[in-house]
């Protein structure tokens, strides 16, 4: 039971990061019906910029409290990522808004490669160790002294994610910009006729998504203690799968999808080995029983398939429920 609770805690923390990244995909998709392929790399840039700032501040000898350093680092990462997001939109999407669908996709892939390699040149190929400035405090969740625990960092990540989602919902449903965004999402032409500057709204959407991504990058970096120029690729793919799971274009869906994806991954990696353990079938075959005597962990799948779960979920959702869990729109068949 302790193990299960611990896996849930791991999954929810990971899921919170996915959720924040998934929001970026879903917002852009909602408004221009395109997948922002380079979104994962924006997350990476956020983590990298924050790393540099933390390294400088922590090494400068200024006795700043750890949280202040983290906050300053995040505040530095956000504008950089917003600039990257804006550039992405200007270079890859705006000029090709009316081109065939393939064109902006390919440009975005190109930009993703460029972002990664620029990051490689600036921050080197080596994995960067995030300075451990926040002292980890562990809280016990069960009476068992060796049982499930949660750390202050995990609490912080989950809390911050909830705050950011709430903020985003307020922005979309309670502000003028939010109304404009929803209008453009429904029908850009008509929105334009109503006096909305479509280009500005789309740019803003990209920038908000990028800002969220940068925070996700800082969270991921400080949680796992490592940043790498290729970290955005898998993170982005999984977050995208999460957005599709929740129903792409739907903000609540992205959050739900993200959380679920995190939990699926944690539980999957934790339990798939036992679920597919061939030794349960030892009674059926003597040869199998013999192998199991020597190797009780003989399983068809193990934790090595952890990265596959997200894709399998993605394919299953697309086949059986393309609109996702909360999405209303059926993905159009153009």
């Amino acid at each position: 039971m302790d193990t299960f609770i611990q896996q849930l805690v791991n999954g929810i923390t990971l899921g919170s990061v996915y959720a924040i990244v998934a929001l970026g995909y879903t917002m852009v998709y909602g408004i221009i019906q395109l997948i922002n392929f380079a979104h994962g790399d924006v997350v990476m840039i956020g983590a990298m910029v924050a790393y540099s700032v933390i390294a400088v501040l922590a090494g400068s000898g200024m006795a700043l409290p750890p949280l202040a350093i983290l906050a300053i680092a995040t505040l530095c990462a956000v504008p950089v990522c917003m600039a990257v997001g804006y550039t992405l939109e200007r270079v890859a999407y705006r000029p090709l808004r009316n081109a065939p669908r393939l064109a902006p996709l390919i440009t975005a892939i190109g930009l993703s490669i460029i972002l990664q390699n620029v990051a490689l040149i600036i921050w080197s190929r080596n994995p960067l160790a995030y300075p451990q400035i926040v002292e980890t405090v562990t809280y016990r969740l069960t009476p068992n002294p060796d049982g499930a625990t949660i750390t202050n960092v995990q609490v912080g990540i989950v809390g911050l994610s909830i705050l950011m989602m709430a903020g985003l919902l307020l922005l979309v449903y309670r502000t003028k910009l939010g109304i404009a965004m929803r209008a453009v999402a429904q029908n850009p032409q008509v929105a334009g006729l109503m006096g909305i500057d479509i280009n500005r709204v789309i740019s803003m959407t990209f920038m908000i998504g990028a800002a969220l991504a940068s925070v996700a990058g800082v969270m991921d970096g400080s949680y796992y203690g490592i940043a790498h120029y290729q970290m955005g690729f898998l993170l982005g793919l999984k977050a995208f799968s999460a957005a599709v799971l929740g129903g792409i274009g739907n903000l609540g869906g992205a959050m739900l999808g993200g959380l679920l994806m995190g939990i699926i991954e944690a539980l999957g990696a934790g339990y798939v080995g036992e679920l597919t353990n061939l030794c349960h079938l030892s009674g059926w075959s003597d040869a199998l029983a013999q192998r199991c005597a020597n190797d009780p962990h003989l399983a068809v799948f193990g934790s090595n398939y952890q990265d596959v779960f997200a894709f399998v979920v993605l394919i299953l959702v697309l086949v059986f429920r393309p609109s996702g869990l909360l999405g209303e729109r059926v993905s159009d068949r153009a």
């Binding site: 193990t3 999954g11 990971l14 451990q132 980890t136 750390t151 990696a269 934790g270 193990g302 934790s303």
Partner: protein, 435 residues
């Protein structure tokens, strides 16, 4: 066309000098430079090319450069000695080629070296590149010695001209396992990064521990690009092991160690040479890193012969990273075999190389029938207050305390006494993918 022709001619000329120059044929040029009477003394040296192949650009260029440095050092020292082979003075020349650690470039780079008619090759770095390249060297009959390819398959192909001076994954694995066993652990969890290196190592550790009756409570795999290990660590924690062995590089080993301690896992961590670096302090945090054990194939850099270390430091002004002593030995082995056979013709000196017995920077070297190093030493380290300190040497299935081993070595061969300075542990750069 014309240019091509010219280049072709130059190559032919070069090869004539390289291969046949040492034989009976007189080079007209030599005769012109050094007239007959003085010829015996002031003879123009014959150039012998030694190939050095590894990734000089890309992901693990720093390791490739380190390997290349080792070869250059050996060749420079050999040239100072004015070696004579077949009665003629010989000048060795290194031809460094970049394989970018890309398997599909392996045969191409090998072909380049074969085209240039090198007498022998030191390389490559990664097993994934070395294996396809080895087929080309085998075709051409050119001896190849790798200083870092540890995948057992390399020498299982039945190629009689392919060697390695580094321990195989299945030699290193048992050593760590033996040390763990000597620590009296009862339950062990094993994980790896699903690369040839990590999985090969972890499988061997598993095999050895099982044979010794240690219980394997979990066998997990992750990937070399992963950052989240909490899922598998939580599972492992539930099985309460005394020790956890991870086959993988420091880039994943460090974060894994950190996350394990965050989850309250108290087991001792063991790693292979890929995570036997001081970068682990940064990646895991110094407090978390303290106390893990790890192994390195061969004698450690700081236990490599002092003369090698000093020479390397003097020439490059940095400490060797991991495999430079091995490539240094590999180059020296080629030269020693040529001297012994008194020929630079690969076909002639190959038998000498197969039966060589040589004391190098990484200890005594002899090859078995497959081309693997006989009885390779493995050193066990522990991380102590941010520094790697050697604790034991495993040789021939026996674990000897490091201090005892050093005493023995000092009495046995005072000239080649290894540096007694664990404090001068190598400043190892992190390596993400390799071998």
């Amino acid at each position: 066309m014309r240019v091509a022709h010219k280049i072709g001619l130059t190559l032919v000329a070069a090869s004539v000098i390289t291969i046949y120059g040492c034989g009976k044929k007189e080079e007209p040029k030599q005769a012109a430079v050094a007239p007959a009477p003085a010829a015996a003394q002031a003879e123009q040296p014959v150039t012998v090319k030694i190939g050095s192949a590894g990734p000089l650009t890309g992901e693990i260029a720093h390791l490739g450069k380190d390997n290349d440095n080792g070869v250059h050092l050996a060749i420079d020292q050999a040239n100072e000695k004015n070696i004579k082979i077949g009665g003629k003075p010989v000048k060795f020349e290194v031809m460094s080629e970049d394989d970018q650690a890309d398997p599909k470039l392996g045969p191409t780079i090998a072909q380049k070296l074969v085209d240039a008619k090198v007498a022998g090759v030191v390389g490559h770095l990664n097993s994934g590149v070395t294996i396809p390249a080895s087929a080309v060297y085998h075709q051409a009959g050119i001896p190849m010695i790798s200083g870092s390819a540890t995948n057992p398959q390399l020498t299982e192909q039945g190629f009689n001209n392919i060697f390695r001076v580094v321990g195989r994954d299945d030699q290193q694995g048992p050593a760590v396992a033996q040390y763990l066993e000597a620590m009296k652990v009862k339950k062990v969890a094993i994980a790896d990064d699903a690369t040839a290196y990590g999985a090969g190592l972890a499988d061997e550790v598993e095999k050895t521990l099982k044979a010794a009756g240690v219980k394997i409570v979990a066998r997990e795999k992750t990937s070399d690009k992963a950052t989240d290990f909490k899922a598998i660590l939580t599972k492992i924690k539930g099985r309460a092991p005394d020790a956890i062995f991870y086959g993988g590089m420091d880039a994943t080993g460090g974060p894994m160690l950190k996350q394990a301690r965050e989850l309250g896992v108290k087991a001792v961590f063991g790693f292979g040479d890929g995570a036997c670096t001081e970068t682990m302090n940064k990646l895991a945090g110094e407090k978390n890193a303290h106390g893990f054990i790890c192994s390195q194939a061969g004698l450690p850099v700081q236990a490599a012969s002092k003369s090698f270390l000093d020479a390397y430091k003097a020439k490059y002004n940095v400490d060797p990273i991991i495999y430079a002593p091995f490539t240094y030995d590999a180059a020296n082995l080629l030269i020693a075999a040529m001297e012994k056979a008194d020929s630079t013709d690969p076909a002639k000196y190959l038998p000498a190389l197969q039966s060589i017995s040589y004391d190098g920077a990484t200890g005594h070297i002899e090859f078995d029938s497959k081309g693997d190093r006989k009885n390779a030493e493995i050193t066990i380290f522990t991380m102590k207050d941010g520094k790697l300190a050697p604790v034991a040497v495993v040789k021939g299935g026996k674990s000897i305390k490091f201090d005892d081993y050093m005493k023995e070595a000092a009495t046995a061969a005072p000239a080649a006494a290894p540096a007694m300075a664990p404090a001068a542990a190598p400043a190892m750069a992190p390596a993400e993918t390799k071998k």
